[in-house]
Symmetry: C2
Subunit: 678 residues, 2 copies
């Protein structure tokens, strides 16, 4: 058990650094009275929503925990019991803490970034990136520390540790789905009345939905994304541990390797963050990229020595590739993460041809830009999917299924910094909103806009990364699921592609992400509709609002969005829990295996498509707003606004939730596999 | 070989009936001078395009045939040779003849329908349905007759007969993709300049792209759909034959059963068509539905006696379900075809809530209606996928893989009438266009509009049916592929879901339909853009055109659409041929198996989604145009027009082409399987 000390130390270092970063943000000036007020309103809204969301989720967590505790009733061979339930609860709590921290810091960094922007780009970048880094490092720190606690509590038994991942996954689903519906319902509602009907600018304080929109950025993009990636991170480590145990035994080097690599990944991330903060005179995008590349380089070097140092493990035929099979598996994952990021950037940044052509097609009207946006997203699936398939094959040829799992871990190893870069976006976005609402100098808004544009691209990269890592994590979980089902089954379970039960499972599984997306999109539509009605009502009933003499009642919109989001997330969320359980019990482990893979296959393509379609449409609009193709006020711009509004729920609600859907169904199947086997 | 006489007789009866139907259409009055002119222009355009398309495809057919002839060079065990090549060429020719006939009759029935509409709804329905029935029955007649020829020529050897399906598939891909790009490029181009920019009504003769739009209906919706379903039809029969041979031997009852059932299906379809034509006083939709139900009933009764009469075949464990296992497998397929039709109708007809709600959401603007349309399509995948999975399981439990294949055949058995109903739509649509362009009485246009609205729903049903049957056909082909690969391989090929090679194949396969769709959508965009430029140019340069004093030069647009469509279809088409070959040679039969299933899994969901999203958006627009939510001229209507324009390429280009993509890749793999095995 001595090897467990490294991850504990690394996560404690991360958390200490988080305290330092949070302090460095909080000691900053929060700006004028008005800015503080707005920031406070956003904090209130975000806190209220998360509290309410957690209350509902707690209910689900308790029900699931009771169900897990009852595991032994299903037979002797079933190893699901109160221990699993406890690990599950710890996982849920860890995810909750991480999400809460992300929201807490994010909603405080926003006004401070706006204030810093008054003194220039560099301090504004510094504050907003510190906010993002707090989120990134607190998530990896909490995740790894919680995992170590569970590992120690239950002596490293994989069957129990899986419960930890399931807890994190359940929380993540509701955080992503609820946050996603919230943020896009509020955003669409705000835009459709404000920009389109009333012709007032984005983030105008007269629009009662603007605060809700800003709250949404925090609960959706920050807390939701964090919970999502925390889950992938935990699952990639746990899957590697589980496969390691099946090959050797608990406590062996192969079992501890993922924990060691994760530890070094945290240190690499911290050093990357320090570099970003230390560097001067670079463009924001370049500074952020540099940080990620430095961390990746450190990870590669450290990974080499860690694997070299532990010696060749014959359990995984690690003599392949000159004894460095494990290292190459890790590198495949790390590299594919970076490649997916670059591809996302290429397809969604207005620096490159795809978005510029898309913007140009807006001149032929909204329908053409939407169709082209969809086509762009569909085409953008090619490279990421091939890269993931390639990394899977490389991992397998290097070190079998352990190598595949290690590739997933490689991709997520420097999550601390990639997540820091992703989470910086919403902070910058919020800062821009506050600058607008508080009526700061247009120069300040220009700086925040610049930060925000970079944030849009980093968000797209983050989403590509999230779906890629989700696919990898799900792959690891599905493999572990099949192994677990086999280990408790009396006869070997065969998942032959020629088995119609498996085919039926694959087909139905392939449909689930579509069904789930449909339900979430319906939720967004409903929330947006209610928000629109409320904002319209306020413009009609509050005298002097349009002229800026009276104040809009934004708390009403915050409440509507929160209620609507929680209401709409419950059914799809519970469905995602029940489907694998129902299929497992009724149709057995083979159909369930098919279901999981089917959902993975469509979910991966659909997830990438929605993320890139949405981000490209968003940036095409921004590109026109910069003055291209006639700029603001032209028909092309109007068409691009429609395109952006279509893309918004695709990229921020549907796409991201699919990641978690895939992972949650897989981890539930993994934990409950013993129950489904006859 | 005596049993082969029935399918030959049945197909000859079908073709005789086709001559009668065609004669009954052609002897009708083709209308005024102006109507004849317009119809002639459409005929010319369609003929020119198909000829040009066939010229390019012939080149591909010759290349592939040469490749097949060289099969023996790859080794002794490989049974691909000049016989396969000959069957392949016959298949391509059969598909070409069927597509040509469909186009030939369709483009002549249009003006005659418009003329008949002057005397009332009943005669107009009669003529347009006769046109559709000519298409439907000529396709099943030609397909079955050609198959019998190949069967007799090569003594029923499945390895050779597969070539016939591959030929039909190759033609179908280009017909669908080329026709789809043509029809939607022209349609979008016509609408965006005509309705949106110039504010002139649909089908206004001043719009130079209107003739191209009407040509598109014929080459896309009629010839393309026909080739698509011909392929599914042929493949479901051939897959059943192949599995029958593997269980017993050539010429056994199990091998002839699919041919007998197909024969009776043709007779049932003819009787159904006669009923539709004989009935009086029913609404068009009800009359058409009645015909389909009567045919389905006759098929069920006849199927029962045919299967009962051939006795229990122990080769397929047919003692299951009281000795009627084969019958129930057939019924499962037949019923699932009908259910998918009903579900499509429910989601896409303005008689039901989904489309009405969608139309209502248009009041909140174009973005909301598009998002809701996408969500509607995504949600509509649930039942069809579950039904197909259920029919697969029922078929398998009844009679093993033979039963699964029989379920596919059951779904397609009454294709003669279902295709008649589908093909009636474009005829009615064209008739409306001619009525408008020839300036007929608004009363006439009202009648054709009524027929067209029904046609929209039947088209959606047809598309649901096409994708459902494609999934079934592909399933049969993939099973046959695996069986063939195993039969020539020295060691058993295992397609275990735990094999990363298979997983990589699945993931990449799942991405292919997205990539393919993206390429086609890009083609539509390009063609539409060129058409728009041309129509704009004509409005600017032709004096008096806007006032209706000068004539638009529609041949220019016809030419642009044809060139553009053929240019854009070649790359994705060749890609669809090369991908399975490349994966098969480079990564082997396991990865290829994964690729095919992956493409099937996403293709099924994406195909249903695109078809229903498009049809629902189209009918939501029509529902508003009927005067709901304010009717024409309102913001809601404008938003719905945008939604319709987004939906058009989804339902008529992307969705339908995916069907064939799946089938073509599967049939190529089946034919070439021996080459990929080491």
């Amino acid at each position: 058990m001595s090897g467990i000390i490294y991850p504990i130390l690394a996560s404690l270092v991360a958390l200490l650094f988080v305290f330092y970063l949070a302090w460095s943000v909080l000691r900053r000036d929060a700006g004028s009275q008005r800015m503080r007020e707005i920031s406070l309103a956003i904090q209130d809204g975000a806190r209220t929503f998360l509290l309410r969301e957690y209350r509902y989720v707690t209910l689900v967590v308790i029900l699931v925990a009771i169900f897990l505790t009852l595991g032994p009733l299903f037979g002797q061979r079933v190893k699901v019991n109160w221990e699993t339930a406890l690990a599950f609860v710890i996982g849920a709590i860890a995810s909750g803490i991480a999400g809460w921290t992300a929201m807490w810091v994010g909603t405080r960094a926003n006004s401070r970034t706006a204030q810093a922007a008054r003194s220039g780009l560099k301090p504004a970048l510094s504050v907003s990136f510190s906010g993002g880094a707090t989120t990134g490092l607190s998530i990896v720190g909490v995740a790894l520390l919680g995992l170590c606690v569970v590992y120690l509590l239950f002596g490293g038994k994989p069957v129990i540790i899986n419960g930890y991942a399931m807890g994190a996954s359940l929380m993540a689903l509701f955080a992503r789905a609820g946050g996603g519906i919230y943020t896009k319902g509020a955003d669409m509602g705000a835009d459709l009345v404000g920009k389109v009907e009333e012709g007032i600018p984005e983030d105008d304080p007269r629009n009662a939905a603007v605060i809700a929109d800003n709250v949404g950025d925090n609960v959706g993009d920050t807390a939701g994304l964090g919970a999502d990636l925390l889950e992938s991170y935990v699952e990639s480590i746990i899957a590697t541990i589980a496969i390691g145990v099946s090959l050797t035994m608990i406590g062996s080097e192969l079992v501890l390797l993922p924990l060691w690599l994760a530890s070094w990944g945290i240190i690499s991330s911290i050093l990357g963050v320090v570099c970003v903060k230390a560097v001067r005179g670079l463009e924001p995008q370049k500074a952020l990229n540099m940080g990620v590349y430095i961390a990746a380089f450190l990870m590669a070097v450290g990974g080499f020595f860690i694997i070299k140092g532990m010696g060749i493990s014959y359990a995984v035929n690690a003599s392949s590739y000159g004894g460095l099979g494990l290292f190459w598996a890790l590198m495949g994952g790390l590299a594919s993460g970076l490649i997916i990021g670059m591809v996302s950037e290429f397809y969604t940044s207005s620096k490159y041809k795809p978005v510029r052509n898309l913007a140009g097609s807006a001149r032929t009207g909204p329908a053409v830009v939407v169709v082209n946006g969809l086509a762009l997203g569909m085409g953008s699936t090619l490279i990421p999917v091939v890269v993931i398939a390639g990394a899977t094959l490389l991992g397998y040829s290097s070190a079998g299924m352990y190598g595949v799992s290690l590739a997933a871990l490689g991709m997520l190893s420097i999550l601390g910094i990639t997540l820091a870069v992703d989470s910086y976006g919403p902070v910058a976005d919020n800062a821009g909103g506050i600058a607008e609402m508080a009526g700061l100098d247009p120069q300040v808004r220009k700086i925040t806009d610049k930060l925000d544009a970079v944030g849009n691209t980093t968000a797209a990269i983050g989403k590509g990364f999230a779906i890629g890592s989700a696919a990898f994590a799900a792959l690891g979980l599905i493999t572990a699921y099949i192994a677990t089902a086999n280990s408790v089954s009396l006869e070997k379970i065969s998942l032959q592609l020629t088995d119609p039960t498996l085919i039926a499972g694959l087909l139905v599984g392939g449909m689930i992400p579509y069904l789930f997306s449909s339900l979430l999109a319906g939720g967004v539509g409903k929330v947006a509709f209610k928000i629109i009605e409320e904002v319209r009502r306020q413009f009609k009933e509050i005298e002097g609002l349009r002229e800026g003499k009276a104040k809009a009642d934004s708390s009403k919109c915050v409440d509507i969005a929160a209620r609507g989001a929680i209401h709409s997330m419950m059914f799809p969320g519970v469905l995602a829990i029940l489907i694998p359980i129902a299929v497992g019990f009724l149709l057995g482990p083979v159909a369930l295996g098919g279901l999981l893979v089917g959902a993975l296959v469509t979910g991966l393509a659909l997830g990438i498509q929605t993320a890139n379609t949405g981000a490209a449409l968003d940036n095409a609009k921004k590109y026109i707003e910069e003055g291209n193709f006639g700029g603001k006020g032209t028909e092309a711009h109007k068409a691009a606004v429609v395109g952006d509004t279509v893309g918004d729920p695709l990229k921020d609600t549907l796409g991201p939730s699919i990641n978690i859907l895939i992972k949650l169904m897989s981890v539930i199947s993994l934990v409950l596999a013993p129950l489904f086997v006859r």
